[in-house]
Amino acid sequence: MTRQLLTDNVYLTYVPSEKFKTSFLSAQMVMPLASRTAGLNALLVNVLSRGTARCPDMDALGRELDMLYGARLDPAVRRKGENQIFGFVASCIDDKYLSGGEKLLEPLTELMGEMLCSPALQDGRLNPAYVESEQANLIDLIRSDVNDKRAYAARRLREEMFAGEPFGVNRLGAAGDVEAITPEQLDRHYRAILPQVRLELFYCGSASAERAAAAYRRALAGLPRSGGLDAAVTSRRAAPAQPRLVTEELDVTQGKLCIGYRTDSPDEHASIVANAMFGGSSNSKLFLNVREKLSLCYYAGSSYDREKGALMVSSGIEFANYDQAMAEIAAQLAAIQRGDWEDWEFTGAKSYLLNNFRSMEDFASSLESYLLFQAVSGSKETLGELMEAVEAVTPERVMEAARAIRPDTIYFLKGKETQE
């Protein structure tokens, strides 16, 4: 793996690999997550992906990608800590599976560069028809998580718990903010950020580093540069003395109980292990006890955000089981805090994590997001170092880290009163 500065504020991460059938490419812009710009940035990449000066509509773009043997080029909007990462991810089958000796890397990189630097314009501006249609789609997408009550409940907890912090901003922006964007405003935003924004490029595949760098250099020859914008440093806050309860009613048959915790523990590696033991693996205490042993819920799990110091529990329960589930989730956390576990739970959680980290090398997309997130957070820790650090975590450190985990907000989604 190498990482190089390609040009002003533009970095290329290169990972050579022979094991995939495909090459994986990515070009991502990085900006601090903020409610003012989140919707603009999300809308922007969706509009840019509608067409370029050379391939101005979906027919032309689709034809270009199909002729590159079903290459993919899609907009992506992600969040890492309190940063928003938005751009394009692309992939194409490796040249060696083509009998005619065709090359796919160069034309695909070229198309990605065009998408960023020379979009389809009308009267010198981003095509207003594309802006309007992508705006409608984005609003639908933001609202559609109500279809998936699990995702909806997790989002609602986030919004409530992190209100007023960048972390609480939806990576796609708020539906109302997106609705208010005009084509002129989006065009101005695009022209304002393009020269300044930090750009993270990625290549994983069988091509040489020189070939990948040359392809990107040529594709981005038209990128204006005048430096300036960098990533934000994620902030942390303490949990309140008493957790806050938020209850909501919708027409559902199964309840969702989500609990958000904060931790100020500086021992992130022990917190990673604590989370895996608590609810972060399929053999965690929440899964084995709350789900399997007590049949209290269909699913129960947790995730830990290392940068933010946030741990989020998500579960699906019968409405009537609320008190019992609350008590049981708290009891499982308390068990970790006092070291009440069997030895295999501790070693199993570690091997689960190490297995996941090792497996990342088998997925170009996992490598891309891991290395991209490292670059954005400014961490220099390699995958190997992360594995060593997790391996070195002791039971005492897990207990100590778990004791720093405090409940902040409880979100309960239940059925409407009218139904039984």
Partner: protein, 423 residues
């Protein structure tokens, strides 16, 4: 042991049939960190009526899925913990025609393989454990019943099929699973979890001889008989009803349309038909098709429109769906476009474009260990070699795809399932 290289795919396959009838396949991936084992039986949600020890048994809907859940119980406790100790990730799924158990790890592969083979081949059920599972599965069923994607599919299957068990949800219903007892589970295990009805596919940087030795050591020496099954008498290619509608909490209306198709049950003809069906989907409503781009530009659909061609025992259908403000309008447009393509033909350069994209997609799918294992399994149960797809693909012509659309994707064969948003 048969060793076969597929130079066009850059793949190498080892195959061996054990004396007990189990097919063992090892797909070599020498550069990967992960190893994967996939142990599958030709038994799924559709296998409700079958013959055991000379008599016909009718089993409750959802039993294959229920059995899958219960297999994780062993005399010693729950096997999940054993895998957890090795840092392995294990899971299982039940589809219409297959139940599969799989484990993925980066260490202790042969230990994990042993565990996998033994917990799947040795049943252990008690009255208490079977009853306790009812709570968990009833929750799972209720959760899927809240899921509009599941609902729109279940409604469509009920509209399309009259007698085929494909119309019954794989997980069954809260009522049907109440009839399940330890004895019915033992019967089903005995009938279907027998070596000659199963396949073991391993993918990774592995020693094929050691995989075979491990399977020989753990599994029974003998296999049970081949079981006769009854997939019902689906007499007609016409649907039972042409439209169903219901209201749920969704942001905008969603729909799923299905077209009943004639089917090839097995062999290369089966593989060929599945390739033709996939090409037909891409040509008709794929992301780069004229119809898709027109509907998208009109705002009639969003990026969620998609579909596929499914080939199951005794049933085949092409389906397409997604969010749409006016589902009937989108459905009519799709059916009309199929008629046009079937009658007037597909544009030659557009067909070449779709052909390339589709081939690229098949190559791409070999990145996934699970795709490889599922394809190998379907190929074995349906008697074709999946890695022959480049040759079979080359034999498919534009006229084949046109004929497929003309015959199958018609108004008469279609049913439409719609979910409207609650107000």
């Amino acid at each position: 042991m048969i060793v076969k290289e597929y130079p066009r795919l850059g793949e190498k396959i080892y195959r061996h049939r054990l004396s007990n009838g189990l097919e063992v396949v090892v797909a070599s991936k020498p550069r990967h960190a992960r190893s994967y084992a996939f142990f599958a039986t030709r038994y799924g949600g559709m296998d409700l009526r079958f013959q055991l020890d000379g008599r016909w048994l009718d089993t409750p809907a959802g039993i294959a899925h229920y059995l899958e859940h219960k297999m994780f119980d062993t005399k010693e406790g729950n096997v999940l913990q054993e895998f957890a100790k090795n840092g392995a990730y294990d899971n299982a799924f039940t589809s219409n025609a297959i139940t599969a158990y799989h484990v993925e790890c980066t260490e202790h592969f042969y230990e994990n393989l042993r565990l996998l083979l033994s917990f799947v081949s040795v049943p252990y059920f008690t009255d208490e454990s079977v009853e306790k599972e009812q709570g968990i599965i009833a929750q799972e069923i209720r959760m899927t019943e809240d899921d509009p994607d599941w609902r729109v599919y279940a409604d469509l299957m009920e509209s399309l099929y009259e007698d085929s068990p494909v119309r019954v949800p794989v997980a069954g219903t809260v009522e049907s699973i109440r009839q399940i007892t330890p004895q019915t589970l033992y019967d089903c295990h005995k009938a279907f979890y027998t070596p000659s009805n199963m396949i073991l596919v391993c993918v990774g940087n592995l020693d094929p001889e050691q995989v075979v030795r491990t399977a020989e050591e753990i599994l029974p020496k003998e296999s049970g008989p081949v079981i006769a099954r009854d997939y019902g008498q689906e007499k007609s290619l016409l649907p039972v009803r042409q439209e169903s509608r219901r209201t749920m909490e969704v942001a905008m209306p969603m729909f799923l349309a299905g077209y009943k198709c004639a089917l090839e049950e097995s062999g290369d003809a089966h593989l060929r038909q599945s390739i033709i069906g996939d090409l037909a989907c891409d040509v008709l409503f794929g992301d780069s098709s004229p119809l898709y781009t027109r509907l998208y530009a009109e705002g009639a659909i969003n990026g969620s429109l998609g579909g596929n061609f499914d080939l199951l025992p005794g049933a085949a259908y092409l389906y397409v769906g997604g969010d749409a403000k006016d589902p009937r309008y989108v459905f009519d447009a799709i059916t009309a476009q199929a008629r046009r393509l079937g009658q007037e033909g597909i544009d030659g350069s557009f067909y070449e474009q779709i052909r390339r994209a589709s081939y690229g997609q098949m190559i791409r799918s070999l990145n996934s260990f699970e795709n490889i294992a599922v394809s190998m399994t379907e190929g074995y149960f349906r008697r074709f070699d999946y890695y022959h797809f480049p040759e079979v693909f080359a034999s498919v012509t534009k006229a084949d795809v046109e004929a497929f659309l003309r015959e199958n994707v018609t108004e008469e064969r279609a049913a439409l399932s719609i979910i409207d948003p609650a107000q």
